[in-house]
Amino acid sequence: MTNWLKRNQKNGSFLAAPTVVWLLIFFVLPLVIVLVVSFMSRGRGGVAELPFTLAHYERSFGIFSIILWRSIGLAALTTVVCLIVGYPLAFFISTRRRRLAQQVTLFLVILPFWTNFLIRTYAWRILLGDEGTINGFLIGLGLISEPLSLLNTQFAVLIGLVYGFLPFMVLPIFASVERFNFRYVDAAHDLGANDMRTFLRVVLPLTMPGVLAGCALVFIPSVGAFVTPDLLGGTKGLMIGNLINNQFGGSGNMPLGSALSIVMMAVVMLSLLVYVFANRRDTGA
């Protein structure tokens, strides 16, 4: 048995066969269908029909470009805020000397996953609403007389996204800082670098793999998010995910939805390319 496995170690590509078949049927094929549909016309009930047309792409980059850019902008902002909040947090966790302190803080980061994402997002509606906890508190203190409109804004979407995706930033950075040898900090200090320069020239570059992975893990799902903007964003916070979602409903437009999906995938692919490029340059490979 082991000999058989050894012999087939090098040319054992058939081991990947189940995965390849699965991906062909459930990933590549649907993708091709979406691609084809995106070039077709809208028929009755929103389904696709001939002839082929570029109209949906024109609309995607035309009238809907504002939503596309808003999605990219909100996702980028989410990534930046997650990074600013997450990096120090990850650093704090991984530099705890006591094992227990580290495990407890790490556990607290992961704890929200124990509750359904939908429920947690609804909780933000209660916090941010006009008669919600935050407004109630501020009015109760007499700091404001009219409730602040927090819900159904892009700000609310940003808060929801940062809240939802922060762990995805913290965990890879944590792993990177854990691997970081703090002797390098001594070495940098020894060579005359103050704390700021030590961080910028030594700590940050050496933990960059974690930063890049975290950014990719936050940015990519943020671009396509639709639950968070749906519940917290209202019409002002509409994102491309909601737009796509709407096209596949009752009076939707499947070809338009397909075209928007393809555009969104292109954005994600581009950001992944940036990630791969940055990572390669960083590791010096």
Partner: protein, 375 residues
């Protein structure tokens, strides 16, 4: 007035650990002269590396003062101290090339890039490693990384270079070569070296002076010769080289620095008292190096010029002999319970061959080769 590069004044360093505190450095005071090669020697956990880190500024002393070139170092962070460190694991920045590693410290001083490049090239030549500037540290061997670490520290022209077991990770042969090279380099650049090691041979061959540390205490400071020939404590005698320890009782203290010690077999010998010997007479240990002991089958006259009253000669039984290359190692018994080891160089093998196990012999040594220590 002697000029000191580094002065430690009654340094104490405690580390918090699990509610209690551990004293890593215990009232250490020492002065290190300009241009000196100074070794901190001791077993692992003796506080030598902590002492080095205190000088570097990576740790702050719990009490006491550190002066570098006469300037108090309180509140001065590591990056403003005129010292540089060669770390045990080199700590070369893995994301930078060799050249960028060496230029790092210069750029922090604001040296212009072109000038820094030139200096980096020169320092690579100084450590005899030209042409590797473009490479990453992981592409170099351990010995080469060690040289880069040295170049990176020396290019800053520090007042003091701190070396934390820099040769510890190298194999034996490379380590021997680097010992000579380091020593030569130190002579050339004239920078004060403070060198941490647990290897007594390394310390003895390289250092101008050695400080032996144990459990945070600096037990003895002196030239390699002083440390080896006249250890002031049992620990120092035991840690450095091989030593015979003979138990006895001090029965008389002479004014000349010598005393009379009664051994367990009843014989009384004259031996040199250590400076740190406790006040009252009582149980002591006489330390003597194996190579200082002579063996003879006939009580012939000893080398000319030596006053016989300064020689101790005792009857002994030859118990064992062991050939160890350059030397032969003889185990001898005096009386019932005193065992001694003597080492004789293998220059006159016929004489050694005449010594047979089970034979009665005379052992002798000069009284000045002994040291009486507290037990």
């Amino acid at each position: 007035m002697p000029s000191y590069d580094v002065e430690l004044k009654d340094i104490v360093k405690d580390f918090e650990s699990g509610g209690g505190s551990v004293r890593a450095v215990d009232h250490v005071s020492v002065e290190i002269a300009d241009g000196e090669f100074f070794a901190l020697l001791g077993p692992s956990g003796c506080g030598k590396t902590t002492t080095l880190r205190l000088i570097a500024g990576f740790e702050q002393p719990t009490a006491g003062h550190i002066l570098i070139r006469g300037r108090a170092m309180e509140g001065i962070p590591a990056y403003h101290r005129p010292v540089n460190t060669v770390f045990q694991d080199y700590a070369l920045f893995p994301h930078l090339t060799v050249e960028q590693n060496i230029m790092f410290g210069l750029q922090m001083e604001g040296v212009h890039k072109r000038e820094a490049l030139k200096l980096a090239g020169e320092s690579l030549e100084m450590v005899r490693l030209p042409g590797v500037g473009e490479r990453k540290p992981h592409q170099l061997s351990g010995g080469q990384q060690q040289r880069v670490a040295l170049a990176r520290a020396l290019v800053k022209q520090p007042a003091v270079l701190l070396l934390d077991e820099p040769l510890g990770a190298l194999d034996l042969k490379l380590r021997k070569n680097m010992q000579y090279e380091l020593k030569a380099l130190q002579r050339d650049v004239g920078i004060t070296f403070i060198y941490v090691t647990h290897d007594q041979e390394e310390a003895i061959t390289m250092a101008d002076r050695i400080a032996v540390m144990n459990e945070g205490v600096m037990l003895q400071v002196g030239t390699p010769k002083e440390i080896y020939e006249h250890p002031q404590t049992h620990f120092v005698a035991d840690f450095i080289g091989e030593t015979n320890f003979i138990a006895g009782a001090l029965i008389e203290r002479g004014a000349d620095g010598y005393g009379s010690v009664r051994l367990q077999d009843g014989s009384v010998i004259r031996a040199q008292l250590s400076e740190t010997l406790g006040g009252s007479a009582g149980a002591v240990t006489v330390a003597i190096r194996p190579e200082r002991i002579g063996i003879s089958t006939i009580p012939k006259a000893l080398e000319g010029g030596t006053n016989p009253s300064e020689i101790t000669m005792l009857e002994a039984l030859l118990v064992d002999s062991q050939y160890i290359g350059t030397d032969t190692r003889f185990t001898l018994r005096i009386g019932e319970s005193i065992e001694l080891v003597a080492r004789l160089q293998n220059v006159n093998e016929r004489e050694h061959a005449a010594l047979r196990i089970g034979q009665k012999v005379k052992v002798f040594w000069q009284d000045s080769s002994t040291t009486v220590l507290d037990r």
